[in-house]
């Protein structure tokens, strides 16, 4: 941990006083070159998905829910991957799915980190009753399995995208809270935080300038992992017909809608599922490498 602290401390010092200017971009590229093939593969996959998400409308001549022909057309020249159960172009839906499924999972994870991170840091810095109350709430929320809790809440509030994002963000923020609280706890007891307190710095200053930079590396790694969980959970819910609703193109519901094709020996419905798996594998590889680099959080080889 101490090495990380020093490193981040140095980094922030660099940002303030640029003279010994080491180009950050070059440095990052150099690190990347030394990365194992699995991490490079992960970065490549992520870049590919981001590209597909941003340029989906340019990559395909068809609209997201445009009906272009008969249903369940086999692979052919105009519809490269055939059509789905309603006659929409499969490849188009796949590309738009990158935008919808990945985008919503990403937004949800950001919210989860905002809620969990802030609450976790507050609990660690304030301690006492705030800590007790927040921690017990999280204990209770974590005692109910996430998928079941999500199902219960979706029954009550109905399935719409904002509801989905809020529910999953809150449920997932409990895990972020635990980590943020634990790592901030180690920082809060250090001398530099104590001296900031004695200087009379405000709570906000202490959390943003002293604590946050020191808990960044584990939080960044956790962001990757949480994203995978959220992504899988949302895809799972969509697969059950309870996540993103039609006609939005979404990988989970694409598998569900076209699953009958599998019984005829056609692998097309497996493609969206594979797309989900590939992205999660990619992110996991990157996170694994990042964890090895920054700390010994995971068991090394």
């Amino acid at each position: 941990m101490s090495e990380v602290e020093i490193k981040t401390a140095l980094d922030s010092a660099d940002a303030k006083a640029p003279p010994p200017k080491v180009n950050k971009w070059d440095e990052a590229m150099l690190e990347l070159k030394k990365a194992p093939w699995s991490a490079k593969f992960g970065f490549l996959v992520i870049a590919l998905y981001v590209f597909a998400a941003f340029f989906a409308p340019l990559l395909t001549p068809f609209g997201e829910s445009e009906i272009v022909g008969d249903s369940f057309l086999p692979w052919n020249e105009t519809n490269i991957l055939g059509t789905d159960n309603l006659g929409r172009d499969m490849l188009t839906r796949l590309l738009y799915g990158a935008r919808n499924t990945v985008g919503i999972a990403f937004v949800t994870t950001c919210f989860a980190f905002l809620i969990g991170g802030v609450a976790g840091m507050l609990a660690a810095i304030l301690g006492g009753w705030t800590d007790q109350v927040l921690s017990r709430i999280v204990d209770i929320l974590m005692a109910i399995p996430q998928l079941i809790f999500a199902l219960l809440l979706l029954t009550i509030f109905g399935t719409s995208i904002p509801v989905l994002i809020v529910i999953i963000a809150i449920l997932d923020s409990t895990r972020v809270f635990r980590l943020a609280r634990a790592v901030s706890h180690n920082v809060v007891v250090t001398d530099f935080v104590e001296s900031a307190r004695l200087r009379g710095e405000s709570m906000g200053w202490i959390s943003i300038r002293e604590v946050l930079p020191n808990i960044m590396p584990p939080l960044v790694a956790e962001f990757g992992l949480r994203f995978c969980f959220v992504f899988l959970l949302i895809s799972g819910l969509s697969f059950l017909g309870l996540g993103l609703q039609p006609p939005t193109a979404d990988w989970g519901s694409m598998v569900r809608d076209n699953a009958t094709l599998i019984t005829y020996g056609d692998i097309t419905p497996l493609l969206p599922a594979g797309a989900i798996a590939l992205l999660t594998v990619g992110v996991n590889f990157v996170v694994d490498w990042f964890l090895h680099k920054t700390s010994g959080l995971r068991d090394g080889q």
């Binding site: 209770i140 005692a143 199902l151 029954t155 599998i262």
Partner: protein, 318 residues
């Protein structure tokens, strides 16, 4: 001994308390509905009189805490109320499905636990070899796969291409055991692949952690074989974390069944809860959630207690 008993009693009380709070949350969730259950059920077109009559039938006119206590008391006696969708007794709906789900989870556990422990020990024994790296990459990938992906790949390979297994797992209470095992093998394998990675990695990590300790070095210096050092010297001390992770994964199995049951159309509790969420059949969803949550809490509690018993150091928290 006294200390262990105290500790266990303490954990049990805490577990019951959590269960109690969870039941309140599950019950109160419905109160958050815009309008109330009667309005949600009958829709906008219902007249005031029918609403009032329906409220009376559902006992919605009573105060909240009375209804909660009555609901809890009935459940403790095995009465979950009636389904809104078809008016059947929920306990009747749940009975066979719960045993089906438990059967599937247990079956998967019987495959997954020995398999992942063996693979984990082997990975620790042949650390940093080609075998270890392959297993590492494979398990890392298998955690990343959505359950339905694994399920459909198995269906595609074993049911469609090879034609060995049925792609639907229809079981009824009359199905004989042999056939039941056969038709639920595919869902069980899917679940195995889902939970195995975590257990295997933890087994490997727990053993490798111990390999750095002096008594293992001593055993090595005595000239014992590698297998003997790991199996007889390292493994016994690694049991605590391993048992813990196994039980936590069993808890995960209970929840993981939901998606797998839907893929294989296996008549279990997971199917029921998904169908009921789609119909917004709230009493059934409440009942299923409570059962899932209770199993989950109990298993996590077991993990907690087992790890205290198997590691006396935890009795003296600093």
């Amino acid at each position: 001994m006294q200390k262990i008993l105290n500790m266990v009693a303490q954990r049990l009380t805490l577990g019951l308390l959590v269960l109690f709070v969870v039941s309140i949350i599950i019950f109160l969730g419905v109160e958050l509905l815009p309008g109330d259950l009667a309005e949600a059920m009958l829709g906008q077109s219902a007249t005031e009189e029918t609403l009032a009559a329906f409220r009376k039938e559902l006992k919605l006119d009573l105060p909240m805490h009375t209804r909660y206590l009555e609901w809890l008391f009935n459940i403790l006696q095995g009465d979950f109320g009636k389904s809104l969708a078809n008016g059947r007794e929920i306990s009747e709906l749940i009975e066979t499905r719960l045993s089906n789900t438990l059967f599937l989870a247990l079956f998967s556990a019987f495959i997954a636990v020995p398999l992942s422990l063996t693979l984990g020990v082997l990975a620790a024994m042949y650390r940093n070899t080609f075998y270890d790296r392959t297993v590492n990459i494979l398990t890392l990938s298998s955690i990343s796969f959505p359950e339905f992906f694994i399920a459909y790949i198995l269906i595609f390979v074993f049911s469609i291409n090879l034609g060995w297994m049925p792609s639907l797992s229809n079981v009824s209470p009359e199905t004989p055991l042999g056939e039941r095992l056969f038709v639920s093998l595919m869902p069980a394998l899917t679940l195995t692949l889902v939970v195995m990675a975590h257990m295997m990695r933890m087994t490997r990590a727990a053993i490798i952690n111990l390999l750095a300790s002096p008594y293992i070095e001593m055993a090595n210096l005595k000239g014992l074989s590698r297998a003997r050092v790991i199996l007889r010297h390292a493994l016994p001390n690694a049991w605590a974390p391993i048992i813990n992770v196994v039980v936590i994964n069993l808890a995960y199995l209970i929840v993981g069944v939901v998606i797998v049951e839907v893929v294989f159309v296996y008549p279990g509790l997971g199917q029921l809860i998904v169908d009921s969420v789609q119909n917004r059949d709230i009493p059934v969803v409440q009942a299923c959630s409570l059962i899932f949550a209770a199993t989950y809490i109990l298993l996590n509690l077991t993990a907690d207690i087992l790890s205290i018993i198997s590691n006396p150091r935890l009795l003296h928290p600093r």
